[in-house]
């Protein structure tokens, strides 16, 4: 039983040792992530839409990249893994491209979405008990 455990262990750790001979400083990466978080929270306070978008989503992409590269070790995995991940993201962009022209449209030649056209989608007033159904 113990033999088996170490046997499997060697399989996993053996490869791992070859791959992870040097670990990045995980704590430093974490600190960078926190700084980026702070920037993304402060960004909207500047009030310029472009700045908000860049700090919110640009930083999100950077953070995701840092986590993927340093914590998930995506750069050490076979390239196939990165291709799989990218392909999935591409499919999502494809979905968006195919569905958005319809979903983002408030009316066509023979139809309309009443609440979209009238702009009646609004937040309820806070504090009151809100009626759940129409």
């Amino acid at each position: 039983m113990a033999d088996h455990a170490s046997h499997d262990h060697d399989h996993g750790a053996g490869d791992a040792h070859a791959e992870h001979t040097h670990h990045p400083n995980y704590v430093r990466i974490w600190a960078v992530l926190l700084v980026l978080l702070v920037v993304s929270v402060l960004g909207p306070m500047v009030g310029i839409k472009a700045v908000t978008l860049i700090t919110a989503f640009g930083i999100a992409i950077v953070k995701a990249y840092l986590v993927a590269k340093n914590f998930m070790h995506l750069d050490l995995a076979p390239k196939l893994v990165a291709y799989i991940v990218v392909t999935m993201v591409v499919f999502m962009v494809l979905f968006f491209a195919g569905a958005a022209p319809d979903v983002m449209e408030s009316h066509g030649s023979n139809w309309e979405k009443p609440s979209w056209v009238a702009g009646t989608v609004h937040a309820p007033e806070p504090g009151g008990a809100h009626e759940e159904h129409h």
Binding site: T87, M88, P101, V103, K113, P114, S115
Partner: protein, 566 residues
Amino acid sequence: MVVQHAEHAHEHGGHAQQSWFRTYMLSTDHKIICFQYMFTGMALALVAGFFSYVFRMQMAFPGMNVPGWGLVTPADYNMLVTNHGAIMIFWVAMPVLIAAFGNYLIPLMIGADDMVFPRINRLSYQIFLLSVVVLFVSFFVDGGGFAGAWTMYPPLMAKAEYSLTGTGSSVFLLAVALEFVAFLLGGINFVTTAMNARAPGMKLYDIPIVVWMIVIASILFMASVGPLIAGAIMMLFDQQLGTAFFDPNRGGDPILWQHLFWFFGHPEVYVVLLPAIGITAEIITVFSRKKLFAYKTVLNTAIGTGVLSFTVWAHHQFVAGIDPRMANIFTVTTLIISIPIAEMMFVYIATLYGGSITLATPMLWALGFIATFLIGGVTGIFLGASGADIYLHDTYFVLAHFHYTFFPIAIIGTYAGVTYWFPKMFGKMMNDTLGKVHFWGTFIGFNCIFIPLFFTGMLGDHRRIFDYTNFPELSTPMLEGLRAFATISLLVMLGFQLVFIYNFVTSLLWGPKAELNPWRANTLEWTAASPPPHGNWAVLPTVHRGPYEYSVPDRKEDFWPQNAPS
């Protein structure tokens, strides 16, 4: 190291005697799990087949008291049609073609002793079985089973006051969701096993085509089902929590559901197609004693089809009110996707050409697949052109088209695979004469059902109509005659399935014992015992060549097993 592993396998072979329950109900052996999926799928095919009998009787003879059901009300009719479709796709085609054949063939054909995650394999079947139970529950709840078509469009699906099956709709959705989870788990097992657990010496292009196809199908499924899972959760919330994801009166969009559904729905048809195409490849090479004409072409077209399948989905929505410019784009992509599949068919025909052909039962099914799928594919071209689709959408032309694709896939493909691998699975030979009788009865019967429906569709028969006497222009003697002819053909075809059941059961119990390799095939499963024991081989095989080395010149035998050293 090899010796150590060989002994290792042997140890597992000698398990202590387990109870019948533990051996067959709680097994983690991929072969047992295959049978669980296969028999469950076949049982559900009987249920869905029965549903088709009931509603076709109503269509041909409106208002009659159908034997075995009674009077078919409009609500009954909708429920039968909905569940016939959903069951055939989710609970027959997928479990049999992917889960059953995938489970059986992948470890055996790559020379492994089991799947890499046997307990997750077992879990996937258990979740699948749960989905079957939940589906059956939907038939018995207040209001009855869901009746809004397998495509589940809102607002019919979302609002109980329209569907009249408030509980049934949610229970049905839950059953579908569970089925998706089961296949996600199973798919990961298949892909990881095929990628990582191959026998020493088995390079990528030495993998049998059917294994490639099932793996690509699993990847397609995993990549496409996500948006629908998200959509299903959104739909459930619309049904039960008062959200309005798909309600245009309150900020939602019903077309969003259609996109979420068909983004999955179209790759799904290739998910079920590819295994059937793979099974056909295995059979035609063996029974024409010939190498597959262009292995890499078949592989590349399969991958190409898989990728392209993500770019065609809105051809199901041409007349739903989508942006017409998108309709143009999807027409182009839809017509393009017919090319790789056609290429595959050409490769198969080229494989058969000049071969030493034996028309045993499995080969008849494989040839029948090619013939009927060709008709299905060609008729799809008419529908893929958005202009023609304006007329043909929601007519029986569409229905005949997709039965000319789904039937070859799910029924013919299954019979091909079962009759071919029966000797290996059960250690007995099926009766070939009965097999041929069953084949011709099914094949001719099938064509007699659906050829007329192409014509009724072109003449104007709408889909999902409970009683055509409400449409005087569709109640002409010719149309009524065609509909009746189709129904009677269905009765005959269903009758011939009894031949198969009889053949299956009697062969299983009393058939002649099967040898190791009755078809004289190359692939690794034929080197294991018939049926293989737990662990498949005492010593796992090593591979030295590709799977299709048939009739190699200057060799005594006309086949050359993959594991033979020379």
